[in-house]
Amino acid sequence: MELLKVTDLKKIYTSRLGAAQVEALKSVTFSVENGEYVAIMGESGSGKTTLLNILAALDKPTSGKVILDGKELATVKENTLAAFRRNNLGFVFQEFNLLDTFTLKDNILLPLVLSGVSVREMEGRLEPIAVSLGIKDLLKKYPYEVSGGQKQRAAVARALITNPRIILADEPTGALDSASSNDLLRVFEQVNKAGQTILMVTHSVDAASHANRIMFIRDGVVFHQIYRGESTNEELYKKISDTLTMLRTGGDRQ
């Protein structure tokens, strides 16, 4: 089933005086099936952050449509937007974005608190997620007391606890060492296997090689896609590297 459908998305930034126009997204069209694990790759300035911001309803496209689970994002009213984001989207950021005045537990529960969920239900939902992410013993700690990898797990738990339609991850391994990165990617795989749809923006070939599908964005269009098919992570890694080399040496669309 199609969960996310993006049609002919265009975003033009106009400088303050209206003199210079920058076309961040030219025409982006793709769709994501329920339960898919998609990585979006592209160089700095390729438009992937703009795309993610539009998907996260933090920014509005100049033209084009984003339909999530049959609902067009542009039709969501301004004053319910925050609630819409909270209930349908889960976010994982490069810089974790945990609040250092909250314990990990409180950080994870924050979205539910904002939605006004009862204490009993919150704790009921927290338990299985904390166990499966292996942070049950860390819940009472503060962010500064745990490692980067553990922080990111807490951030993933925070994203998962609202049972979102889709998780949007922005360079989730960007601030982690390689061991923690692998760790986190395994967590993503495991979450995905359990049926969670994930859309991840990344620079890292390693991170992308864990996904089921990789989309390459260049100059504001979806330039190329790779499907995993039957490949192992290592084979996919090779394919991605080749594609990136090809992109860099200026090859045209295959």
Partner: protein
């Protein structure tokens, strides 16, 4: 690098950081202005002459010293705050290749510019408001306005300028040291290392409760005005320490309690504010406690001085039921013999006739005033008591004879007139005043004085003679049968107290038909009376001519100056509190920005963010105000006792003054809150 470049960088730095520097400059200018006003008033000879100004200059010098100390604390506080905010910037200069000595040179120009601007503005402010202040003083002292003086004196300008230059110099030296200690790499590595969760400091918490409790108990339970004086400062110190301790430990205790209540805590309106405050309090408790104490200071100072000032009429009425009191005695070989009241009365009547002053009544008020310790229906002289005694046991006794009492009764309405007929072992008893409370709730049936027991025959509602100390110690009046009995009592206390014994007071009390007309003649009238006295008794004499109008004048001088000082110091305290609040909010705004951005990313709505910010701000802002209100309320009993020492006994007036002061203060505080909150929102968003 050339000097010009340094000064340019410094100037542009100040401009860029206007949000930080403008309040600092205004604060210093304000303090300097007040300092200037105080110093100039103290030295203004014209003003001093106009009001016989002994009080004026003494009070203003005290005020100047207080403002000087406050400025020192405040400017260093603001300075440390500024430095914290700008350390990052200085570190960056260092990393970009400026040597530390160059950074310090930039710092020098920055300090120099801000100092010059502050001082110039401050002096202008001072000169402008000096005129206003002197007008206010003229008004308060109810004197004619001294026209044409506009006192600018190089000396009064030089002193404040040098004092504040020195202050700024001190701040600069501290800053240059802290730059020398700066490690730029650490600064650039990012400031968000995370803080430890604050722990409840149980010792401090318990100590705080004890201190505050003890302070409050003292303030409430003090019985006598005399002991209030001694205990007041003890109470003040206990409350100050208690406030600091409780703000540091108590707030964290309460927040932790709130947090462990899951139902309350896991709510979108409470969770961000409670956890935010928990960490905030660790650093801010001291600042908030200072604000609370400053606010209490403002409230107490202004309400007491306003009450004193507006209560002058009342005090006079209490102290001077008649307009003039006159006694005199001849002194021969160190023995003084009272001049009989008839003679004094004749002199007064003669002079009054000559001056065309109409006398309403002249009363003879011969009496003996002795202080004792009262215990179990017995008046002990102080030498009889072993060990200490309670202040409420101190009792002043005013003795008169039944003759005088019956004479005074002639003035009364026939229906209430009551004549006494006493035997030698009988007395009449009157409870004149019980400001210290406690004693005389139960009236004695007999009374033992000087080893002799008297039977109380009558209990009197009113006593014909006023008691001078009646506001401070419990005072009773006793009517004895005749001069002989009185003389026994006189000799008994003479034997006990020796040279400190009391003497007969053979005085007359005069009241006039037209009080205003007499006070207008004033000195001329009293001088003539004393002249006449001296011609009739050419030998050595002692006399006391106490008039209501003289005392009124000195009250005005004293309390008018008190009030002026109270207003100015109240203003300065308020000013300081505002400054602390402003800087706290700004520094917190910068810290909170990241937190609120994260919350918005996670799906908190803008208006929820605003609500959270609001509730956090309100808690921080109004906690000190509420504390100040509670402190003032508890201070009320002891303050009203203290005011009795200063002869103000109108508690109703004091309540009104305190309430008005609190309301005005709360409104001003609210306005400041709104202004600060706006700046804060702007920073956070």
């Amino acid at each position: 690098m050339s000097m010009k470049l340094y000064s340019k960088v410094a100037a542009s730095n100040i401009k860029k950081n206007a949000r930080l520097y403008i309040p600092r400059i205004l604060a210093e200018a304000g303090l300097l202005g007040c300092f200037y006003i105080m110093i100039t008033l103290a030295l203004d000879k014209k003003l001093a002459e106009a009001f016989g100004g002994a009080y004026l200059s003494v009070f203003m010098v005290i005020g100047a010293v207080i403002i000087g100390l406050l400025s020192l604390i405040l400017i260093l506080y603001v300075n440390s705050f500024l430095m914290k905010q700008r350390k990052h910037e200085y570190g960056l200069y260092n990393v970009l290749g400026m040597e530390k000595k160059h950074v310090i040179r930039v710092l020098f120009y920055e300090s120099f510019y801000t100092s010059c601007i502050s001082i110039v503005i401050g002096i202008i402010f001072g000169i402008l408001f000096y005129k206003l202040s002197s007008l206010l003083i003229c008004k308060l002292l109810k004197g004619a306005i001294v026209t044409g003086f506009y006192y600018i004196n190089a000396g009064t300008i030089v002193l404040p300028v040098i004092a504040f230059m020195a202050l700024d110099g001190l701040a600069y030296i501290i800053n240059s040291f802290s730059i020398r200690l700066l490690k730029p790499v650490e600064l650039l590595a990012g400031q968000h290392t995370g803080e430890r969760e604050p722990k409840i400091k149980w010792v401090l918490f318990v100590l705080g409760i004890l201190c505050l409790g003890a302070g409050y108990v003292i303030a409430i339970t003090v019985k006598s005005p005399l002991s209030a004086m001694g205990m007041f400062f003890a109470a003040v110190f206990l409350v100050i320490f208690g406030t600091y301790f409780l703000f540091v430990a108590g707030t964290i205790f309460i927040l932790k309690c709130l947090r462990s209540n899951k139902k309350y805590y896991y709510n979108k309106n409470h969770m961000p504010a409670v956890s935010g405050l928990l960490f905030r309090m660790k650093r801010n408790a001291v600042g908030l406690a200072s604000i609370a104490i400053l606010a209490t200071g403002v409230l107490v100072m202004i309400s007491t001085t306003v009450s004193l000032y507006s209560g002058i009429e009342d005090s006079l009425k209490w102290q001077y039921p008649r307009e003039m009191y006159f006694n005199a005695s001849e002194v021969n070989d160190d023995i003084s013999a009272p001049i009989p009241a008839e003679k004094l009365e004749k002199i007064v009547r003669d002079v009054a006739d000559e001056k065309g002053i109409e006398i309403k009544t002249v009363e003879r008020q011969s009496n003996l005033y002795v202080s004792y310790i009262y215990r179990d229906e017995r008046l002990y002289d102080k030498t009889e008591i072993m060990g200490g005694y309670k202040p409420e046991e101190m009792t002043g006794v005013l003795y008169i004879t039944s003759d005088l009492y019956n004479f005074a009764q002639n003035r009364e309405e026939a229906s209430t007139r009551q004549k006494l007929d006493l035997d030698k072992d009988e007395i009449a008893f009157c409870r004149i005043a019980t400001p210290a409370g406690g004693m005389f709730k139960k009236l004695p049936e007999t009374l033992t004085v000087g080893g002799k027991e008297y039977k109380v025959k009558e209990y009197l509602e009113r006593f014909p003679i006023e008691a001078g100390m009646g506001q401070l110690v419990n005072t009773i009046g006793i009517v004895v049968s005749d001069e002989q009995v009185l003389d026994e009592i006189y000799r008994a206390q003479k034997a006990a107290y020796g040279e400190y014994a009391s003497e007969y007071d053979d005085r007359i009390a005069v009241s006039f038909v037209d009080e205003k007309a007499v006070s207008a003649v004033g000195d001329e009238f009293t001088d003539e009376i004393t002249n006449r006295l001296r011609t009739e008794y050419p030998g050595e004499i002692e006399y006391l001519l106490d008039t209501k109008w003289d005392t009124a004048e000195s009250f005005l001088g004293l309390y008018g100056n008190f009030l002026f000082l109270g207003i100015l110091l109240g203003f300065v305290c308020m000013f300081s509190a505002v400054l602390i609040i402003y800087y706290k909010q700004i520094s917190e705004g910068y810290e909170d920005r990241d937190r609120f951005q994260i919350m918005e990313k996670i799906g908190m709505e803008q208006r929820e963010v605003r609500k959270t910010i609001g509730s956090q701000l309100i808690m921080q802002f109004f906690l000190p105000l509420i504390t100040a209100g509670v402190h003032t309320a508890f201070a009320f009993p002891i303050l009203s006792k203290l005011l009795k020492v200063l002869m103000l006994s109108n508690t109703g007036l004091f309540i009104i003054c305190t309430v008005i002061t609190f309301v005005v203060f709360a409104i001003a505080y609210g306005i400041i809150y709104m202004m600060t909150a706006r700046t804060y929102y702007r920073i956070v968003h």
